[in-house]
């Protein structure tokens, strides 16, 4: 019969083996965080895993000083500590004393720390942001002399406004010397006095873009008196440089569009202003011309010449009226005359002669109208309707007819 042991005895035996193993007492294990739980007691429980296996880990509250970031699922970390057995469960665990981010994770950690630090120092504050001038003449570009970024910027600037001078500082944008090179570029272009600067590069991994997360670059951007547009990577990449720059562009192309105004639009604006000015002055002059015409007309009306002409016209009118009145009177009188003529006709002596009356005259033709004008024996002429009878006055006698 073999020896029979209790569970506790076995667990205790194994624990003892672990404790005596030198390597297990202090080792570093790297892997991905999963099932991470921050317990209310201050202990942190999590599992470290790689493609093939997992190991339970715990960090006790007392060791929390060994962890300076917030652990999250999926992070690549390096855990320093001891592998030991938890006798109650018969499980071995990694007891963490120190946890750091591994590789990329480390970069993210540095990024977050610098971001927090600079933010606290106010370097991202809106009050330090310089406005980007709307109309620039020289554009400084700090980026690699080869690569898509500089080509994109040149293309867009020459399309929008070929009269803008681009000055390129060919910077190293990746690797050990990148940060110093970018800082030099910013200073060189500031010294040259460009109007606006674009600082950036094309897309890449966080390691590729790392120079733009360095503090010296952030400081150089912050210190620069010339407005800086950051243009690092793609839209989704955000670097410290983006936070500290006066304006963040999602891409180098977008930065070029933000920095350089479109010449065509500017020219159209100038023309519009000119037309407005011309139009307004023409309008003004027309208004004054009309006013002048009006006043001239009034003045003309009041002039002596016009007054004389006016009077003359009036007198002509009166003259005509007078003539008309005169004419009317003449017509009327003539009419009366005709009426009289008719009346006179009725009174003609010839009619009397026709009725058998005669008209008597003496030999000289003088009318004989009384007895006294005739001598006895004198000749008388008796005018009848169709001739004259010569008669002799044989006697005369006075008669009172009435």
């Amino acid at each position: 019969m073999q020896n029979v042991y209790t569970v506790s005895q076995v667990n205790s035996y194994i624990k003892n083996m672990f404790t005596q193993d030198f390597m297990l007492q202090s080792l570093y294990v790297k892997g991905e965080v999963s099932n991470c739980k921050y317990h209310s007691s201050g202990h942190i429980y999590f599992t470290l895993k790689d493609q093939k296996g997992t190991i339970s880990c715990v960090m006790f509250a007392g060791n929390r000083s060994g962890l300076v970031f917030r652990m999250e699922e999926g992070q690549q970390i390096v855990v320093g500590g001891t592998v030991d057995v938890y006798e109650r469960d018969g499980k071995y665990q990694l007891y963490a004393r120190q946890i750091t981010l591994d590789g990329i994770g480390l970069l993210y950690e540095k990024f977050d720390m610098l971001k927090k630090d600079l933010e606290e120092r106010g370097m991202f504050a809106a009050c330090y942001k310089q406005p980007i001038p709307r109309y620039i003449r020289t554009l400084g570009v700090v980026t690699a002399a080869t690569g898509a970024a500089v080509r994109d910027i040149i293309n867009i600037v020459s399309r929008r406004n070929p009269y803008v001078q681009i000055i390129l500082y060919p910077a190293i944008v990746q690797g050990e010397q990148a940060a110093a090179s970018i800082v030099n570029g910013i200073r060189a272009l500031e010294y040259l006095g460009v109007d606006v600067m674009i600082v950036g590069r094309g897309g890449g991994s966080i390691e590729d873009l790392w120079a733009f997360n360095e503090e010296i670059v952030a400081q150089a951007i912050f210190d620069c008196q010339i407005p800086i547009i950051s243009a690092v990577g793609h839209e989704t990449d955000t670097t410290i440089a983006d936070f500290v720059a006066d304006l963040r562009a999602p891409t180098p192309s977008a930065a070029a569009e933000l920095a350089v105004y479109e010449y065509g639009q500017y020219e159209a604006l100038l023309l519009e202003y000119r037309d407005t000015l011309d139009g307004l002055l023409k309008y003004k002059m027309n208004w004054y011309k009309n006013r002048l015409d009006n006043i001239g007309l009034k003045l003309k009306y009041l002039s002596p010449a016009n007054q004389i002409r006016e009077k003359r016209t009036y007198s002509l009118k009166l003259e005509e009226q007078m003539e008309n009145a005169m004419e009317a009177i003449l017509v009327k009188k003539r009419h009366f005359l005709e009426v009289y003529i008719e009346k006179m006709k009725g009174l003609s002596p010839l009619d009397k002669l026709r009725q058998g009356f005669s008209y008597v005259s003496d030999e000289e033709g003088k009318t004989v109208s009384s007895v006294e004008s005739v001598e006895e024996g004198s000749l008388l002429r008796v005018h009848v309707q169709n001739g004259i009878i010569t008669a002799k006055a044989l006697g005369k006698e006075r008669v009172e007819w009435n």
Binding site: I167, L168, A188, Y273, M285
Partner: protein
């Protein structure tokens, strides 16, 4: 004219143009003043035109020794 005394930015020049236009639009401006304003407006426009050096630019590159050469 005051333009020469201090270099106006284009933004400022455009602002001045807006002011000039506003004055020209006023009902009570005298003919003399409107000529003056118009003249000033035209000068600003010319200034705006002149300010842009209308020569197509070659991209320049700063060399290590600080010299500028064509890129």
């Amino acid at each position: 004219m005051e333009l020469e005394e201090r270099e106006l930015t284009l933004e400022e020049a455009f602002e001045k143009l807006e002011e000039t236009i506003e004055k020209l639009q006023a009902e009570d401006i005298t003919l003399e003043d409107s000529f003056k304003e118009y003249k000033q407006g035209m000068e600003i426009l010319k200034y705006c035109s002149d300010k842009i050096d209308r020569v197509e630019k070659k991209v320049l590159k700063i060399e290590g020794n600080g010299e500028l050469n064509e890129f």
